[in-house]
Symmetry: C2
Subunit: 237 residues, 2 copies
DNA sequence: AAGATCACGATTGTTAACAATTTTTGTCAA
DNA sequence: TTGACAAAAATTGTTAACAATCGTGATCTT
């Protein structure tokens, strides 16, 4: 059910006719999540049309959708750019997560039967594997997805959506303000959180999560921004 | 420079007809919030084009935006309909609010200097006035807006957006499942919550809010749905 | 040369015609 | 009357041409 079930039809340069606009959205979304598309990168319509083999209409719709999710910034008559959160927005994101995520985790720990332990354990295994092999983009994506999957465990559509949005934005922020070394979640904190949930320790789970978020935030340098980059067509292969 | 108003067919209800698509979104949004547009109402493109005096493109963009907010349901080749939450979704909405809103209120109560007391007090006065005069749509809208404004007091963009979305959905749900009498928030619970916040009683504020939400939810009859309706052009004047 | 101005090219925004699909309507047979 | 079927109308989806705007580079003035 996760976006892995797609057979490979994205090998060629000109994909002809299987591009629902949601595919475009997802592709760009993933590229941003994995920090392959840097903030401020321009997403020209013609460029996207070519890379996806799609008419302008689809591209424009996709861009509108992405802008409504805050992933791209739509400047009138000037085109679409990958969103570039500033300091204030970064703080807002973390504040929002601090507010929302603890209750989520706490509730999960109170009723851990709801969670799919196997799935989450598997996920952490993947994370560790990626970390062991130093696969940067994978690590980043999986780190974020852990939090999303946690939210998904509540079975609540809205909670999931909110968390997804916040996690995406966090990814952008970490990419922008992340000070070299620690570009994602530290080693085994995810594992510890999951353990606390599974062993029904709400307070501990909450505590661990909070310190986890603090940890991520403290790894940022709010004064230095990385610079743009990215050349589009190659990135979205 | 700025978007010019277009000389077009708006011979009927003249309505500030310089229609940026955000205006269309807002108009429909408000109509849904005030329960003037019933769930399942069809929003035909041509109809909206006429009522807003706008080309099809703007309308389609607006509908896409609204669908991304879950306010309208976009069925392929069949057009746009006002969203019609089912039982499960209704439960999700309240569960999400139960999860998110208490921490928000609690935090506000811990730092009440952040809130704009005058604004919120004024708002409650408006609510009471509307209640006194039995202005149904006003009551409904203001009841929802109180919660939105509360979230807004955090100064957090994301918290505000989330709450706004949940409140909108709540409005739809109350319209659908609301059992006649109590179609909105009960009398002075808002006032009590605000008081608790202002006098720095986080726990009490949280408690009041929770019981407030329970109160709203218990006023619903999850088994009987109101039926469609609505004729469009007249409603959006 | 530095700076301003203007024209050109490239990109985005809009409109209108066209194609595809669904819904309605009309007809006929059981 | 009811049901099935088919043509017609209405609605949505798509494409392509057209218009407006922005960025860039050449030209001109001081």
């Amino acid at each position: 059910m996760t976006p892995k079930s797609q057979p490979s039809s994205r090998d060629q340069t000109e994909t002809t006719a299987e591009a629902d606009e949601s595919v475009i959205v997802e592709r760009i979304y993933n590229a941003v999540m994995e920090q392959r598309l840097a903030p401020r990168t321009k997403l020209s319509e013609s460029g996207l049309c070519e890379t996806f083999g799609v008419g302008r209409m689809r591209v424009r719709r996709a861009l509108l959708l992405l802008s409504s999710q805050g992933i791209v910034d739509l400047r009138s008559n000037r085109g679409a750019y990958v969103a570039c959160p500033d300091k204030a927005e970064a703080n807002d994101v973390f504040a929002a997560r601090m507010l929302i995520e603890p209750p989520v985790v706490k509730q999960l720990a109170q009723n851990p039967s709801a969670i799919n332990l196997a799935l989450l354990t598997e996920h952490i295994a993947l994370e560790n594997s990626a970390r062991a092999q130093n696969e940067r983009t994978k690590i980043i994506r999986l780190s974020g997805e852990f939090h999303t999957k946690l939210a998904q465990s509540t079975g609540n559509k809205f909670v999931t959506r909110m968390m997804r949005e916040l996690v995406t934005r966090t990814s952008l922020i970490v990419g922008l303000f992340g000070s070299s070394s620690n570009t994602s979640c530290p080693d085994d904190e995810h594992s510890n959180i999951l353990d606390a949930i599974h062993s029904q320790k709400p307070d501990q789970a909450e505590k661990l999560l909070i310190s986890h978020l603090r940890h991520i935030q403290s790894g940022l340098d709010m004064d230095a921004r990385q610079e743009p980059q990215s050349d589009l067509t190659s990135i979205l292969g």
